[in-house]
Symmetry: C2
Subunit: 273 residues, 2 copies
């Protein structure tokens, strides 16, 4: 397991946001940062803005877990809540272009993805013989960054994209050969990103294999992570552990636990079983 839950803000997203923010021109950075997020990108953007001493506003689903929205505010950023369809439309029409801040796209951004690729040398340090990497897929930035990281080192690890049956956006899109629209019905709220044409193309090229995990297995995996492995995984984070458990013994396989931001009430409920 690669425990990104232990990163500042509790997910891998700080990697990408630091990579993107630290390469901005001073004039761009001083305008402050903006992103759009199911939660973890918002937390990372707020954290990075605070560390770099600039302002931050984030667009979030109005259904985002309370823990994530409150976390963003406690980092000194403003939340702009939007209903799901309004938010998707805002993204489709590039609503950020009307705003004063510098926008960092939470996944379809080269620098964000290259920031996520910094995970690859760490994975190789811990598991030099790695043959397969299981990665949860929402917008696709993490899995593409990891695939690019291995490719940059001319390594052949098999990159496996993992989704919940409660929101199998990319496997459906791949079957359909193009855009699909689904309503998420999963505790893996971190994977609830919409279809994106650019990311669809990248995912087709970079992901070697897809696994779709039954929603019940995701819930069981959150519990097993806590009781057996002693770590906290949010729904999206637990996806890969659920996938690996389904496979039986998985040698030289690394499962990326992408984050641990889960509302305490839900966590408590899942642990009590």
């Amino acid at each position: 397991m690669k425990l990104e839950s232990l990163q500042p803000t509790g997910s891998f997203k700080v990697r990408g946001f630091f990579a993107a923010a630290l390469t901005l021109e001073p004039g761009q950075l001083s305008r402050g940062l903006m992103t759009v997020s199911a939660g973890n990108a918002a937390l990372a953007c707020a954290y990075v803005a605070r560390e770099l001493g600039v302002g931050c506003r984030v667009v979030m689903f109005d259904t985002a877990p309370k823990l994530k929205a409150e976390g963003v505010r406690s980092l000194g950023a403003q939340v702009m809540p939007m209903p799901r369809e309004v938010l998707y439309e805002w993204m489709r029409t590039r609503g950020w272009e009307q705003e004063p801040e510098t926008f960092i796209h939470p996944y379809a951004d080269e620098k964000v993805m290259s920031g996520h690729a910094t995970m690859v040398p760490e994975i190789l340090d811990d598991c030099p013989q790695v043959e397969r990497v299981l990665v949860p897929v929402g917008g696709g930035g993490l899995v593409c960054g990891i695939a690019d990281g291995f490719a940059a080192l001319s390594l052949q690890a098999r990159v496996v994209g993992v989704q919940s049956e409660g929101y199998p956006l990319w496997t459906r899109a791949l079957e359909a050969g193009g855009p699909v629209s689904l309503v998420p019905d999963t505790i893996a709220d971190g994977t609830a990103a919409p279809f994106d044409a650019l990311m669809f193309e990248r995912l087709q090229e970079r992901v070697h294999e897809w696994v779709t995990v039954p929603e019940g297995d995701v819930r069981a995996a959150v519990r097993a992570l806590a009781t057996d492995l002693k770590v906290i995984g949010e729904g999206a984070g637990a996806l890969t552990y659920a996938a690996m458990t389904g496979e039986g013994h998985a040698q030289h396989t690394v499962a990326v636990l992408s984050g641990g931001n889960i509302d305490p009430a839900r966590l408590s409920e899942l642990i009590s079983g």
Copy 2:
């Protein structure tokens, strides 16, 4: 935080039991292993015996958390449950001398303590400037091992022993200047070891400072570890985080999270707050 919760069997105890078992004569090892334990030493002993291919029996309190007793059985070892006072008497009279297995004392054993000292170079790798180490204290083997580890490297880190107000055995014994007997009333079940004259002497020499944490703070720390730090600490494991939180910002301080073996029902209850 030094996350010993991520060790096999979910606590630091495997360090000491491997160190002790691997230095036994073949004839001693083949008789199988025995220990006495509040839970974590039992799990470690069972794990080490299984890894080395020998049998194992462990004496445990009949009130040991179900998770720990079941864990021991699932590792192929036998549990010999005893009421608290019977168990203490068994220890006082060295009951293990009547048994066929080779007994490894869970804390008052040089090799077990030197095994725990292997944590010190790891702490130095992660935090070369460490000035203080907070360590939960039950029998005292962990804190003495860590103190000896620093001393062996001629380093001056301040070693702080942490206990719950629900079982402040050693601070009471130090005040009294000798043996005391208390009934544990704490979720830090891993610290419920009895007074031991040899360990009393060692602790007096090695522990620079003692902190006693209110029981309510221990419970709050289990929750905060899960929701803020995304890690699972059992009661004993959460003691040092509770102590550190009480101190405010603690630079160059390492808190040892000794283990994460907590019953799911209790964990769920503590997280729900």
